[in-house]
Amino acid sequence: MVPGMARRSPPSISEPTYFILAALLDGPLHGHGIIKCTLRLSENRIKLPVGTLYGALDRLTANGLIEVDREETVDGRPRRYFRLTDEGRHVLSEEALRMRQAASVVMSRIADPGSAFS
């Protein structure tokens, strides 16, 4: 078990939210950039509609997990770049640890077929 896990259950976050936060790990991105990055990181499983993306960005901003880094105008249209806050980075890493622990429960037994499924 990962040290520190299972002492308290961290708040669960949806898979799209997880990948949105993960997309911002490498630096600020604008809406279209986040959509492309989540698609790539999720191996083409999560294609966020724009309406869903901006709703999620509004909620994540309201909860302090991300914030607007800067605004730019490209081809006459405004763009907001979002970045992770420290709180967002913390929540994301907690969720990653939780999933790693959950995955290890299964993966260790699959690797040792005689222990659980025989």
Partner: protein
């Protein structure tokens, strides 16, 4: 096709697509559109495959859903319980006006006073609404008991011919329903009146919904007759309660369930008053209202933890 024509066709298609996206963005509140509409359009056009002139179904549904959710979140101001109670009292006062409206030819003064209650509640003037509710409650209870009070009202009170039915006011039941209706209104208004901050002013055009409510045959308190207008009332109630369920799930805010409580209490009074004569349709109607009200109450608590993120 020449290169110039191809560019022109692409530009026309892109313009049409942008117009359609802007139409869909109308689901969002105006101030939100003014702040972020151009950014949305830019992202939408970037993510749409080239050559498309129509928004995709998934994107369209997401925009409408996102717009409604933003509107619901924007409509939630202040502490949930008082704000939800205020909205619930506005709904009950509006339903009361809708019930009295078909009798305007016989009791015009009381219908005007009822409209005054709706306006006062909508404007957050709860102390002004209290005496009006007391007066209307006393008058309608007197009518339900078959007694004129304060003026020479001829009882029973029949609707104006325009409305196309002959159900007398409270002709389907005794005084319990008007007593509970106005008692709920009075108690709720008293609770709001003693709070240090008065309720906020709501969109005053609420009163315009009264004719719509009147068209749903509200004086026919049970639905056993199964008239199309009674069924329209059931449909309207169910639609509003489903909206409360969805709003609670989308925002984790209990105010929409609180807003449903006063109306459901009044409907319980109708059930109690007509208990001996209720049919299966009535039981199904009240079961539906109860189920949706309980669901609307439970859903925000379940959603709240997930919504934090």
């Amino acid at each position: 096709m020449t290169e110039t024509e191809a560019v022109g066709t692409g530009s026309t298609r892109s313009g049409a697509l942008e117009r359609r996206y802007r139409l869909l963005l109308r689901a969002y509140p105006r101030d939100y559109r003014e702040r972020f509409g151009d950014e949305f359009i830019g992202t939408l056009l970037e993510t749409t495959p080239p050559g498309r002139a129509l928004p995709g179904m998934t994107e369209s549904a997401a925009l409408v859903r996102g717009g409604l959710r933003t509107r619901i979140a924007g409509a939630a101001h202040g502490p949930p319980w008082p704000d939800g109670l205020h909205l619930g009292l506005l709904i009950v006062s509006l339903a009361d006006l809708g019930l009295l409206l078909p009798y305007a030819g016989s009791i015009p003064l009381w219908v005007c006073l009822s409209a005054g209650v709706v306006l006062a509640v909508a404007h957050g003037r709860v102390r002004l609404a209290i005496p009006l509710v007391l007066l209307i409650g006393s008058k309608t209870t007197a009518i339900a008991l078959g007694r004129p009070w304060l003026d020479q009202t001829l009882v029973p009170v029949f609707p104006d011919s325009f409305w196309g039915n002959e159900t007398a006011l409270y002709g389907m039941g005794g005084p319990i329903t008007p007593v509970i209706t106005h008692g709920v209104l009075l108690l709720g208004l008293l609770v709001l009146a003693v709070r240090p901050r008065p309720p906020r002013r709501r969109f005053p055009g609420w009163w315009a919904l009264a004719p719509l409510v009147a068209c749903t045959d509200p004086a026919w308190l049970t639905v056993a007759a199964g008239s199309p207008r009674s069924l329209a009332r059931v449909g309207l109630e169910a639609a509003l309660l489903l909206l409360a369920v969805w709003a609670g799930a989308a925002t984790g805010d209990p105010r929409w369930a609180v807003a449903a409580v006063p109306y459901v209490l009044v409907q319980i009074a109708v059930l109690v008053e007509n208990f001996d004569s209720v049919g299966r349709q009535d039981v199904a109607h009240w079961a539906l209202l109860g189920f949706l009200a309980v669901t609307a109450t439970a859903v925000p608590y379940r959603s709240r933890a997930a919504l934090r993120l």
